[in-house]
């Protein structure tokens, strides 16, 4: 193909002094112009819209803003943060959420995907039904579940009273011991379907021969799951876990609408606390909430890097 030959020569000519033989020998290297074509749009978006807010946040954390006066306070915001009781409660709540809930999410998603792959009846309908909660906005999910958890006429308490377990009927969102758990359940309800879809896609992209071979060996689904699917899906599951982890570290909308961080700060998360300090604290000071955001950013980055190191296998699985 003459066009391809031209393209090759052109690529060779454009390459930074690399002979054509070399560019053909290492397809993982390419010329700068090509790289730029791929990367520049993303970098432009990042530079214009994400970099400035990110750096501005870190910058602001060293100041206190009072109306229009901006005064440099150095590390004072950070020092106050360390002794801020509400902040540490928020950290604890967010940590519980972030380490526990993703396991639930990913496990549920995987099991649902396997069920669909194994061929349950009405698979198409189930796929849509199980995915519907993902499509709902947080506002809707929050409202629905506030009604479900309602003390007087919510379905949970009604069901408990109907089966004679009326003594267990409680104010799910109003009790400091139960509120966080209730929110975790709601959030898991919303996201299970997404994990299912991703796992399903991943299972489908596994080579069919391996699973067929297991079938021939009379492996039950339990064994198949444990010895074949999970190991081969490891990168996907890890990605989902990290994604869920980050999502929970940032969680805001659901908590804000359902409990506003209450009762007695039982559901206060880092994001709701940042919002309160930035918008509800009767001051225009952005310095303190910026400090919280910066600290949290470092914490999450460190956590993600650590998780990656611990859990990721070293080679990229190629098959």
């Amino acid at each position: 193909m003459s066009q391809a030959v031209d393209g090759n020569e052109a690529a060779a000519a454009r390459g930074t002094g690399a002979p054509s033989a070399r560019s053909m020998a290492d397809p993982r290297r390419t010329s700068w112009p090509i790289l730029l074509i791929f990367l520049v749009p993303a970098l432009v978006v990042y530079g214009a819209m994400t970099a400035y807010p990110a750096f501005r946040t870190i910058w602001d954390s060293f100041f206190t803003i009072d109306g229009s006066d901006v005064s440099f306070v150095g590390l004072s915001n950070y020092r106050d943060l360390m002794s801020d009781e509400t902040f540490w409660i928020a950290v604890r709540n967010t940590a519980i959420w972030s380490f526990v809930a993703p396991i639930l999410d990913v496990a549920t998603g995987l099991l649902l995907a396997v069920a669909l792959y194994a061929g349950v009846p009405f698979a198409r309908f189930l796929r849509v039904a199980w995915f519907t909660p993902v499509l709902l906005s947080y506002v809707v999910v929050a409202i629905l579940w506030m009604w479900i958890y309602n003390y007087d006429w919510g379905i949970v308490n009604l069901a408990l009273r109907a089966v004679g377990l009326g003594s267990l009927a409680s104010s799910w969102l109003g009790s400091p011991n139960l509120a966080l758990g209730a929110l975790i359940v709601t959030h898991a309800w919303k996201w299970a379907g997404f994990n299912m879809v991703v796992c399903l896609a991943a299972i489908h992209s596994l080579p069919g021969e391996v699973l067929e071979a297991a079938e021939l060996d009379n492996c039950g689904w339990g064994a198949k799951l444990r010895w074949i699917i999970v190991p081969m899906l490891r990168p996907t599951l890890l990605n989902l876990y990290i994604l869920a982890f980050i999502g929970k570290m940032k969680i805001f909308d659901l908590v804000w609408i359902m409990t506003g961080g209450g009762p007695l700060w039982a559901t206060e998360t880092v994001s709701t606390y940042v919002y309160k300090r930035a918008f509800n604290w009767n001051s225009f000071d952005l310095g303190y909430p910026s400090a919280i955001a910066t600290v949290w950013f470092c914490v999450v980055c460190a956590a993600v890097v650590t998780l990656n190191r611990l859990l990721r296998s070293t080679e990229r699985l190629e098959y």
């Binding site: 003390y151 104010s171 209450g262 009762p263 225009f284």
Partner: protein
């Protein structure tokens, strides 16, 4: 590739849509105004009427009026003033003084007729001698009750309409025994209702001066008088005064709880109660023949000021200090602040106002309600401001979590609640 073309088309569509949305400048100066109350027809009508009258009278100014829910107004306003994009006039309540102190508001002294504003309404918006907001909405904190149910449980309301400390405790006990919720209240979506009974009692026990000290962080919650009142309140709580769904019941739902299903004996509420109660019953209003009564909050034993009552300013309008159309904005507010308009507010909205009004000229279908309300307010010594109009930052947050929610929900002991409040609010 189809995807690429589609992407290009989408960007084009979006760009055109963005350009098409750019407003064209009118010949008259256009000012933007953000008001609250999108879901309260009476207040919304009053504001819309004032704007129309103003536009008809002053051809130089056109007004773009938006009605936005309160939570969104605050989020938008707080973001907008920081970037210079705030509207010319917007809604604000006195519980956000940082706008005033931050220099984001324009003083109104040179624009409106100061004689048109009640003197007691001015301090809420006054800073360094200048008035920064037009106090349209004013309210007193009242204790509404169901005459029939109260009589049914065997309680006689005295002629002064103020029960004693033990009398009220008796009411709670009798209500709980009869299976009727004594006090309908819900803090699901508000930071103040749960504290009403306690803080009104504190006002009557401590008197205006010491109550002001308490709200300014100069008096500890461990003061023996405060502890006495809290003990009485805890007695009510433990006797089952509040609904079980107290923590999650929304304010609107608590209204319904009181005058519809399942019904309650009393309902402490600011007098903007009428905004919901006087709506049509299908929209959640009070049923036509509901036996509504108003009583005073109970007098405390050895209380310094049983006739004290809380009066506060609610929704007000302010002008953005960086507005480019201050003349028009000022003229609009000036046209609002007249006795005639104040009277219209009271008539149409059935609520007090910080604008001067002429009570003799009020013609309202709710005349009986007004008569009763005025009687309860006669001879009252008014204290200006609710706790949240004084508490700021961490103290306000602690009040919302502790005094408003956890303590009335029975989750904290008196000592714990007092400790937390002192830690957050006491200026040592």
């Amino acid at each position: 590739m189809g995807l690429r073309n589609f992407g290009r088309l989408a960007v084009l569509i979006a760009a055109v849509a963005g350009l098409a949305g750019t407003a064209r400048a009118a010949d008259a100066t256009q000012i933007t105004m953000w008001s609250n109350w999108p879901d309260e027809p009476a207040k919304k009508q009053w504001v819309a009427d004032r704007v129309h009258e103003f536009e008809a009278a002053d051809k130089q100014c056109a007004v773009k009026l938006n009605f936005i829910p309160k939570a969104d107004i605050y989020t938008q306003a707080k973001s907008a003033v920081r970037t210079g994009q705030a509207p010319d006039i917007f809604y604000m309540e006195p519980d956000e003084p940082e706008f005033m102190t931050g220099g984001f508001l324009e003083p109104l002294d040179s624009y409106i007729d100061m004689a048109g504003v009640e003197d007691w309404a001015k301090p809420a918006w006054t800073l360094k001698g200048k008035l920064y907001g037009l106090p349209v909405e004013a309210y007193t904190v009242e204790l509404y009750y169901n005459k029939d149910l109260v009589k049914q449980v065997g309680i006689d309301v005295p002629a002064s309409f103020q029960m004693s400390q033990s009398g009220f405790a008796d009411l709670v006990r009798k209500g709980a025994a009869a299976g009727i919720t004594p006090i309908a209240e819900g803090v699901g979506d508000r930071p103040f209702p749960g504290g009403l009974v306690l803080f009104e009692a504190l006002l009557r026990k401590l008197g205006s001066d010491d109550y002001a000290k308490l709200l300014n962080g100069q008096l500890s919650f461990k003061d023996p008088r405060v502890v006495e009142v809290m003990t009485w309140d805890k007695g009510l709580i433990d006797a089952g005064a509040y609904p079980k769904s107290f923590s999650t019941l929304k304010l609107g739902e608590s209204h319904f709880y009181f005058y519809n299903t399942p019904g309650a004996l009393t309902f402490p509420d600011p007098s903007w109660f009428t905004g919901r109660a006087f709506a049509a019953p299908e929209s959640g209003g009070m049923p036509a023949k509901f036996p509504l009564g108003i009583m005073q909050f109970p007098a405390m034993d050895g209380g310094k000021c049983p006739e004290c009552k809380t009066l506060a300013i609610g929704g007000s309008f302010v002008i953005y200090s960086k507005s480019k159309n201050k003349e028009c904005a000022g003229a609009l507010l000036k046209s609002m602040a007249t006795v005639e308009n104040g009277t219209k507010w009271m008539e149409q909205v059935s609520l007090q106002t910080g604008v001067k009004s002429d009570s003799s000229k009020i013609k309202s279908v709710h005349a009986a309600y007004f008569t009763e309300l005025n009687e309860r307010d006669k001879g009252a010594k008014f204290f200006f401001g609710t706790p949240l109009l004084y508490y700021r930052g961490k103290c306000a947050e602690t009040y919302a979590q502790v005094m408003n929610n956890a303590f009335p929900a029975g989750l904290l002991s008196i000592a714990e609640a007092a400790d937390k409040m002192d830690a957050a609010c006491l200026k040592s």
